[in-house]
Amino acid sequence: MKHIISALVENKPGVLAHVAGMFAARAFNIDSLVVGRTEDPKLSRMTIVVVGDDKVVEQVRKQLAKIVPVVKVQDFVGQPVVARDLMLITLSAPPDKRPEILSLIEMFKARVVDIGVKQLMVEVSGPETKIEAFIDACKPYGIKNVARTGTIAMPRQGPSEVKS
């Protein structure tokens, strides 16, 4: 099962190495790991997506919490969360295919961010499933390059039906 784990860590050199080293040393698999600043300059947030059974993920959570500069660890499993990925994707887009591609982009609420002679760069954000679906939809046109951020997430405060 997929778990999104959010860790507040001290914004110090070496923290990422501590966390990444722990994952490698304990043979935990990570789908993605995203680090970014927070509202507090002394803290960063790491969002880590791990796949494993409950026992494994429980160990991941405890081992993370044990790392000295890790301040707080939350496993969002079972909680309503907003989880988002961002992707930049370059597609081959010859002039005759462009209308088709643009309508696809429209359907996914994606944006064209760069236009070349033979290709387009598109920015898509949303849940991982949407990103995957967009990639699948683009395959017939020819994907040149993909860059993805990995998942960031936050728990919802309001009713879980509200979709953004």
Binding site: K12, P13, G14, G21, E58, A65, K66, V68, K72
Partner: protein, 587 residues
């Protein structure tokens, strides 16, 4: 613990610093002096260190500081000495090394201390800040190399952090589940000047210590104990670290519980007491292993269900409900699923438990255990004409009244020591359990003797373990330490040889080397050396050794192909022990 941690205090603000600097320049201190003053503040009076280019500023300040510096012959030895010092005293052991090769040589010692939760602080020199990353002379990525073998490490890149980081290192090393902490200090930081007066506040927002166990969990544990017909207490090094032997004795007595110990737990519970089942695990006692496999309740305290203890995990303690008391939440349900976890300090939790448990006779259970004890005691051929290694240990135990501090090498020597020396006090048995580091015994004995100058300290070693760090004999001679090395010299890497005998058709591949004459080695290094090859000479040799005031090496030429019994072969359940027939026939 003599260390004082100032948690609250005046923070040094840059503003007050600059005004102080302009008002009175004499308040300026070099980084190296800040290190020394901080160490003294923290109660350090002894440390182990080896110099080199980028740590010279610190050694210069140590030249006339009120700190005794013991120089090992190799940094690994220095780290094991700090470790042995810490295990024998309960204080933090401090080791210093230079950058690059010096720091690299610490790694085995740090990993040893990490596995066995020993409070060690390592201070390493590093190349100048502006050279870091340039492959400078003697540069190594010390924090990168040592990250997996320390509880925490960091590099100081700003002199204003220096005192704080060192205090934090001591605090982290010695609290919760202890472990080694390394602080890497570039040479320019040691030389730079800073006004560093006043108390220093620690800043560790991510470091939490859970001392008190959850009251409801403690009550649940007590209720399970009170209900149990066939309980077993399984205790590890955590009880010794928590200084909770007294509480353990009370718990075992009040609730009437049999107690088995891990290798590192030896000394936490008097082995002469009737409740003692001695050590469990791969080379543990048959009665401990049978009791664990048959018990209906296993109460683990400060132990971590290591694979050398559990054997095949799937069939470990198959009928038991499991209580696990440990300060490290990651140890709980890591290898074995636990029914009643209690996270917290063993001393606190046992104190609470004692209040709630009730005495129960459990006559049948104790009778069964007594039968196993009678049938399968640790034993060997006492009528043999050769020098049996077990006999040497029994004789050592007898002549020291079981009261010496014992360190060991790794291998058969270590297992026989665990089986045949009967320990009564915590911090008496000092051995590399988790990592199994050959070469640990001699430097650890040196550290222990420095921590406990009046104690009898004996390193019961293997010939090949001794080979690894025997150069430290020179350190013992220099400091006139009356340590006693007893080499159980079987001419083999005995434990690998035993495995080769049992599982590789007696093909003794690379497990026998040509050894030096240890008596000559000892004498050449300025120690006392003796060779004992007759059984009849053992008692008087040991008597002579115990009377020696100088370091000595007694080379006992023991039976070469003796095996350690019982043995749970790899992948087998604890009750599937080999060698029981041998034990039974010699009982």
């Amino acid at each position: 613990m003599t260390i004082k941690f100032i948690r609250k205090g005046v923070k040094m603000s840059p503003k007050s610093r600059s005004s102080a600097v302009s008002a009175d320049k004499s308040n300026l201190k070099a980084g190296a002096q800040i290190i020394v003053d901080t160490l003294i503040d923290l109660g350090v009076d002894t440390m182990f260190g080896y110099c080199g280019g980028v740590i010279l500023p610190l050694f210069d300040r140590l030249y006339d500081a009120p700190i005794r510096v013991i120089v090992p012959r190799h940094e690994q030895g220095g780290c094991h000495m700090a470790d042995g010092y810490a295990r024998a005293s309960g204080k933090v052991g401090v080791v210093v090394a230079t950058s690059g090769p010096g720091a690299c040589n610490l790694t085995t010692g740090l990993a040893t201390a990490l596995m066995d939760s020993v409070p060690v602080v390592a201070i390493t020199g590093q190349v100048r800040t502006e050279l870091i990353g340039n492959d400078a002379f003697q540069e190594a990525d010390t924090t990168g190399i040592t990250r997996p073998v320390t509880k925490y490490n960091s590099i100081v890149k700003d002199i204003k952090d220096l005192a704080r980081v060192i205090k934090e290192a001591f605090y982290i090393a010695s609290t919760s589940r202890p472990g080694p902490v390394l602080v890497d200090i570039p040479v320019d930081i040691q030389v730079a000047k800073y006004e560093a007066d006043g108390p220093v506040e620690m800043d560790l927002p991510g470091y939490r210590i859970q001392t008190k166990g959850h009251a409801r969990q403690i009550s649940a544990a007590a209720a399970a104990i009170n209900k149990s017909e066939k309980p077993v207490l399984y205790v590890g090094g955590g009880v010794i670290i928590a200084n909770a032997s007294e509480e353990l004795r009370k718990l075992a007595q009040k609730a009437h519980l049999p107690v088995t110990m891990t290798l590192l737990g030896l000394g936490s519970f008097e082995q002469s007491r009737p409740e003692s089942l001695d050590m469990l695990g791969m080379h543990g006692s048959a009665y401990a292993n049978y009791a664990v496999q048959e018990c209906d309740l296993l109460i683990a305290i400060g132990a971590r269900f290591d694979d050398r203890v559990t054997g095949k995990v799937k069939t470990f303690a198959p009928n038991a409900k499991i209580i696990h008391i440990d300060i490290d939440p990651t140890s709980i349900s890591k290898n074995v699923n636990v029914d009643i976890p209690v996270v917290g300090d063993a001393k606190y939790i046992m104190t609470e438990l004692v209040k709630e448990v009730e005495y129960r006779e459990r006559a049948e259970w104790f009778k069964k255990i007594a039968e196993w004890k009678k049938k399968f005691p640790f034993s060997y051929d006492r009528n043999a004409s050769t020098v049996k290694p077990q006999y040497v240990i029994e004789e050592l135990c007898r002549q020291t009244n079981g009261e010496a501090i014992i360190t060991t090498g790794v291998g058969q020597n270590q297992m026989w020591t665990a089986q045949f020396y009967k320990f009564g006090r915590p911090r008496q048995f000092i051995s590399s359990g988790g990592l199994g580091t050959m070469g640990y015994g001699l430097p650890a004995a040196i550290g222990a003797q420095i921590a406990r100058p009046d104690a009898t300290v004996i390193d019961i070693d293997g010939d090949h373990s001794f080979n690894m760090t025997m150069t430290e004999l020179a350190t013992a001679v220099e400091h006139k330490l009356p340590i006693k090395v007893c080499i159980l010299n079987n001419g083999y890497m005995g434990l690998p040889r035993q495995w080769q005998e049992l599982f590789y058709g007696k093909r003794y591949s690379c497990s026998r080397l040509q050894n030096p004459n240890y008596e000559d080695v000892a004498k050449a290094l300025g120690a006392v050396g003796e060779t004992i090859d007759k059984k009849a000479d053992v008692p008087k040799a040991i008597k002579q050794m115990l009377a020696e005031k100088r370091p000595c090496v007694f080379d006992f030429r023991v039976e070469q192909e003796e095996n350690v019994w019982p043995m749970v072969p790899a992948g087998k359940s604890l009750n599937e022990m080999d060698g029981l027939d041998i034990l039974e026939s010699m009982a």
